[in-house]
């Protein structure tokens, strides 16, 4: 304040310090608790990245070095976008957390290995730049950035996004890596034209489990995804209820409405297994529906959310315009998260027996 003036008639006691030399220690003054557990947000993100590595390895095994290239490009694009925006906005937020890496890897995992690298970069940049940073960065977005990036690519380059390559290993049976169509697309086609043979699909299950099938590069190997998922479950980073309910819902629905008219024939039993192993359900259930930022924070809400994902996945797979329904169903359920959170507040201690 410029127009303020101290009366300076008789200057006294220039030193602000107490003259009698009393030493005053300055301790830190904070609110309790004075103990904090050591794990931080970047630890969590780092473990997610580690848990994604087996699937990346599977992707490289089945689709060749192109898979690695796409992942690296996608991660780099995510990091560079986040860095540029943080710089531009002059935010003090630390970029050291691994959240951009997670997003980058997940974007790459959700595209076909034949996608041109620059498309993956665009998807990654969109995921970080539009779906995440516009809302203020980590923790502020309402929709899963990686899935938003995939949906954006899906709408922007529909043909490139649905062109899949066979795996490097080739044929073991009818449904495998040879064909460029994804397992679910083949299933849908077979159901539509009536050529569905339970035996073909039964043989395919082991390929699906190991990952020797066409599809997005991160979703092929259910085994690798399961390994990563179990790691995250063990580290208590993701709650069991989301993958369990999600996969369970899809399993049940695809068993009940299996389209064969019976429930205990061999094909009727194979169909639900086929459904849960194919089409990135494990990737979605373990790594994307469990995204902390965009899934409900309340324990009951997580169940509602996961069940909703399961129902939508099933509906889109069975009746929708796409053979795969995982990414859209999670995106759609992301929109419902605030409403779910509102209506699933945990029951507070002492609330039941309130006197009035």
């Amino acid at each position: 304040m410029t127009n303020e003036q101290q009366p300076t008639k008789e200057p006294t006691n220039e030193s602000p310090m107490a003259a009698d030399g009393v030493k005053i220690e300055t301790f830190q003054l904070t609110a309790s608790p004075h103990l904090r557990q050591p794990e931080s947000v970047s630890h969590i993100m780092m473990w997610v990245v580690i848990a994604l590595l087996p699937s990346l390895a599977a992707g490289v095994v089945f689709f060749g070095p192109q898979a690695l290239l796409l992942t690296v490009v996608s991660v780099l694009a995510a990091i560079v976008t986040e860095w540029a925006i943080v710089k531009f906005l002059k935010k003090s937020a630390a970029i050291g957390d691994f959240s951009a890496v997670v997003t980058g890897v997940l974007v790459a995992f959700n595209v076909s290995s034949t996608l041109p690298w620059w498309m993956a970069a665009i998807g990654s940049a969109f995921a970080i730049g539009v779906a995440k940073m516009t809302f203020g960065g980590l923790g502020a977005n309402f929709i899963n950035p990686a899935l938003a990036g995939r949906a954006f690519l899906m709408a922007a380059y529909p043909s490139a996004m649905t062109r899949f390559s066979p795996t490097t290993f080739g044929s073991l049976s009818g449904i495998d890596g040879i064909s460029s169509a994804t397992p679910l697309a083949q299933f849908k086609a077979a159901m539509a034209d009536g050529s569905f043979q339970a035996l073909d699909f039964q043989d395919a299950l082991s390929n699906l489990f190991l990952g020797n099938v066409g599809g997005c590069l991160g979703e092929t190997s259910a085994l690798a995804l399961l390994a990563g998922g179990i790691l995250l479950l063990y580290k208590r980073i993701i709650p069991l209820r989301i993958p369990l309910v999600y996969i369970g819902t899809v399993f049940l629905l695809s068993w009940i409405f299996n389209g064969t008219g019976a429930h205990f024939t061999s094909s009727a039993i194979i169909i639900p297994f086929y459904h849960i192993l194919a089409g990135g359900l494990f990737l979605g259930a373990f790594f994307m529906a469990t995204d902390m930022v965009t899934s409900p924070i309340t324990p009951a809400g997580k169940i509602v959310f996961a069940a909703g994902c399961g129902v939508l996945t099933f509906l889109i797979r069975k009746f929708g315009g796409y053979p795969e329904g995982v990414s859209y169903s999670i995106l759609l359920m992301n929109l419902f998260v605030p409403l779910i959170e509102r209506s699933t507040r945990p029951k507070m201690y002492g609330k039941v027996k309130n006197r009035d």
Binding site: T134, G320, F336
Partner: protein, 207 residues
């Protein structure tokens, strides 16, 4: 004529696939204006469903019994808007007089809706189908389309309000605060709603 399958198809289409806000760009002003709180979004949603029902039924009657027989379809814009504005105002007055509580929760949104493209839009879409396709909407179908479009609008509005209540906590960059971030939110919602495209519960019937 009263094919239940086509009725379900109309509903699914109006709510999810051709959502008024997220795919047709109709009713954006109230969508962005009244989506800051879930409670007011719910009130607005009810009001929109109500007005859309009135609008689609009355406009169907007028179009099919007055404008169409006398070949003055080109007057529908002017007539529809008059009818809708007049009706809504009547309803609003009646509410204010006879049910102040309902007016408090619903009525305050009514003036916002009268001159809203979603409401006129549903009337015009209903009659547009009459003009272009061989099979015009029946009264029931038209009414259902009105109600379900309103439901679709309300769904989008509720989701938007929930998300905006949540992103209110977010440190959105200054230049994007307010409307721009709401647009981005709507864009991302529209992106997610693309997942519904091609949704068809009766492939054999719907084709």
């Amino acid at each position: 004529m009263m094919n239940p399958i086509s009725l379900i198809e109309i509903s699914i289409g109006a709510i999810f696939i051709n959502n008024f806000v997220l795919s047709r760009f109709l009713g954006l002003c109230p969508f962005f204006g009244v989506s800051k709180k879930v409670s007011s979004a719910a009130g607005m949603g009810m009001a929109v469903i109500f007005v859309m029902t009135i609008a689609s039924s009355f406009s169907w009657v007028i179009f099919n019994y007055i404008l169409h027989p006398y070949h003055i379809e080109y007057l529908r814009t002017i007539v529809f808007i008059l009818v809708i504005a007049g009706l809504v105002q009547l309803v609003e007055m009646a509410l204010q007089k006879y049910s102040p509580t309902l007016y408090e929760s619903l009525g305050i949104f009514l003036p916002l809706i009268t001159t809203n493209c979603a409401v006129l839009g549903v009337a015009i879409i209903n009659t547009d189908l009459n003009q272009t396709t061989g099979s015009p909407y029946t009264f029931i179908e038209s009414l259902l389309n009105g109600i379900m479009s309103g439901v679709g609008f309300s769904l989008a509005l509720l989701l938007m309000a929930g998300i905006r209540e949540k992103t209110e906590f977010s440190p959105v960059p200054k230049a994007l605060e307010g409307l721009p971030i709401a647009f981005i939110t709507a864009g991302l919602m529209a992106l997610a709603f693309l997942g519904f495209s091609g949704l068809n519960f009766f492939p054999a019937v719907g084709g």
